[in-house]
């Protein structure tokens, strides 16, 4: 049942991660739009079987009709998004530059800033939050737990805008995870591939001590 007071979720990308996030968001009561590069018709079958209740949309509709837009597609395509549609939007960047698995990309390999900062520079009018990039897609459903349960799993959250980060934090907690504020967007580096947090199952206390973040 969709709860009307919750932010509307838009997922761009209908692969493993995108469908997992959409499914978990639906199950805890969010209104969910999902899109891919081939248009909403291409998603009808997938939605009817895997994501009943989600709304198939174009990418542009997904952006304009959502409060939180989740990027869950291969990072190399981020410049196919239309920046003008993102004014004031909260963007969750769940993507990674993961060279050993997805290949070298010079644009990211040569960069002196994190991939999420590059996404923020491109989507200059959005509030980009780095989170949900360091958990395996299947664990989003499998590890979700009620608030403060035993074994509650930490998910790091990094972003520059305080209000956007609070909204993202509430979303991550609604999904079933213990959100840990890692500070500014640049600190998203702590969550990237080849870090101790990437793919690691840990509590919030453990994440805080491993990142030594002081808020």
């Amino acid at each position: 049942m969709v709860k009307n007071n919750l932010p509307r979720i838009g997922v761009i990308g209908a692969g493993r991660l995108g469908t997992a996030l959409a499914k978990q968001s639906l199950s805890v009561g969010y209104e969910v739009r999902i899109s891919n590069s081939r248009g909403p018709e291409s998603l009808e079958l997938l939605l009817s079987v895997l994501l009943p209740g989600a709304i198939a949309a174009t990418i542009d509709e997904t952006i304009s009709k959502s409060d939180i837009v989740i990027l869950a597609f291969p990072l190399r395509y981020y410049k196919s998004l239309t920046p003008q549609l993102f004014i004031g939007k909260i963007v969750i960047d769940a993507m990674n530059y993961w060279a050993p698995v997805e290949g070298d990309i010079a644009e990211f390999a040569d960069a002196t800033i994190t991939s999420s900062e590059m996404v923020q520079q491109y989507l200059h009018d959005a509030h980009v939050i780095k989170t949900l990039n360091h958990i395996a897609y299947n664990e989003i459903e499998e590890h979700a737990l009620p608030l403060q349960s035993k074994g509650y799993r930490a998910i790091g959250i990094a972003g520059d805008d305080r209000d956007a980060k609070l909204t993202a934090m509430a979303y991550v907690e609604a999904l079933g995870f213990d959100g840990v504020d890692l500070g500014v967007l640049k600190n998203g580096a702590l969550l990237q591939p080849d870090t101790r947090l990437f793919n690691a199952r840990m509590s919030a206390d453990s994440m805080k001590s491993q990142t030594a973040v002081r808020i």
């Binding site: 997805e102 299947n138 499998e142």
Partner: protein, 347 residues
């Protein structure tokens, strides 16, 4: 229900020292022969290109196994189709199929490694386009009539003009589409009317049940429903005489492999709690006693109706004699129990 094994020809280790790749290959061939002797249905060889996974050329070892086994079906698990030439894959597998008397199959996928892309001069960003085009050509070659020639044109390979491709398999090869769980892959396999091979290397195995539903729903939509639509599951697994022995031994082997892979690929190593959660009940790791593994296969079959389940046993530091014993237990204890249970379930 068909049961079997798949392997990347993992090399042995002595402490921290990695054994030779040649030993990995001779061990692999021996394992295939044992699997045949104990009556297993399938053995798959997965293409990788590293010092620890040296089975880089499945077609070659399948030909050797074809000549030295009697009844077992043999296949790749998987062939990295995107970076190979479909003409060459067809020729190699058709040759092995002829030698084997019709027991060779192709499981075409991506695999989890990326080494073959730079090795053979391809770009990972072209992965999808390469796969689509090469699968198209492979299927066309496989469906040619006797002595029929092919004219074909694509983007990533030189065109074929009235070309003859030999040898031809007497019957078409069975070609599976392999996937790690992307929903589009289930739809693609169904649209093409191909059997589908799911690789489930972690997490809960039942999460693939909705994808199997999607596969069948797509087949209905595309009008491709037939007996050719089959579901195979590939997962890590290891069987020993006792459940405790199996779980402890496989933790060492699997845990070591995941730790090493994590270093290469940049993810945190799994801990024991992770392993314990995934090597029981609905987890993807089938390490246990023969009875326990048989029960778990039967339970999964009730949920997803798969017609084949194959296990990757020889990961990391698993000693070769334990690998062979595990194959023996799968063939002589697990398989009869599973077959009996499923036969009685159908009455």
């Amino acid at each position: 229900m068909e049961l079997g094994v798949y392997s990347f020809g993992d090399v042995q280790r002595n402490g921290k020292k990695l054994g030779s790749t040649s030993e990995g290959i001779t061990n692999l061939l021996e394992a295939m022969q044992i699997a045949d002797k104990v009556g297993l249905d399938f053995f798959g060889v997965g293409e990788h290109h590293t010092s620890y996974f040296p089975a880089s050329s499945p077609g070659t070892i399948l030909a050797a196994a074809a000549a030295t086994t009697k009844q077992i079906k043999l296949g790749s698990a998987v062939s990295v189709l995107s970076t190979d030439d479909p003409v060459r894959i067809y020729q190699q597998f058709a040759t092995a199929n002829i030698i084997s008397g019709g027991r060779v199959e192709v499981i075409a996928g991506r695999g989890s490694s990326t080494e073959s892309f730079p090795l053979f001069g391809y770009e990972l960003k072209d992965y999808d386009a390469l796969y689509t085009e090469k699968l198209d050509l492979l299927l066309q070659l496989n469906n040619l009539d006797k002595n029929e020639r092919i004219t074909w044109e694509g983007i990533h390979r030189a065109p074929l003009q009235d070309a003859q491709i030999v040898p031809q398999s007497d019957d078409p090869l069975k070609i599976w589409l392999a996937t790690g769980g992307n929903p589009d892959s289930s739809i693609r396999a169904a649209a093409l009317g191909l059997p589908i091979a799911y690789a489930v290397i972690g997490g809960r195995i039942s999460r693939f049940a909705p994808l199997v539903d999607l596969y069948h729903a797509a087949a209905k939509q595309y009008g491709t429903e037939s007996d050719a639509l089959q579901v195979s599951i590939a997962s890590p697994g290891y069987i020993a005489d006792s459940a405790q022995d199996a779980k402890e031994t496989f933790w060492k082997a699997w845990g070591w492999t995941m730790t090493e892979l994590g270093k290469v690929r940049g993810f945190a190593a799994p801990d024991r709690a992770h392993y314990d959660a995934e090597s029981n009940h609905d987890g993807a790791l089938f390490a246990g006693s023969a009875d326990e593994i048989a029960d778990r296969i039967i339970e999964l079959h009730k949920r997803i109706g798969h017609s084949r389940h194959i296990f990757q046993m020889d990961v990391g530091q698993l000693p070769h004699d334990k690998f062979l014993h595990s194959i023996e237990l799968l063939g002589t204890v697990v398989a009869p129990k599973v077959r009996k249970a499923l036969a009685s379930g159908k009455k």
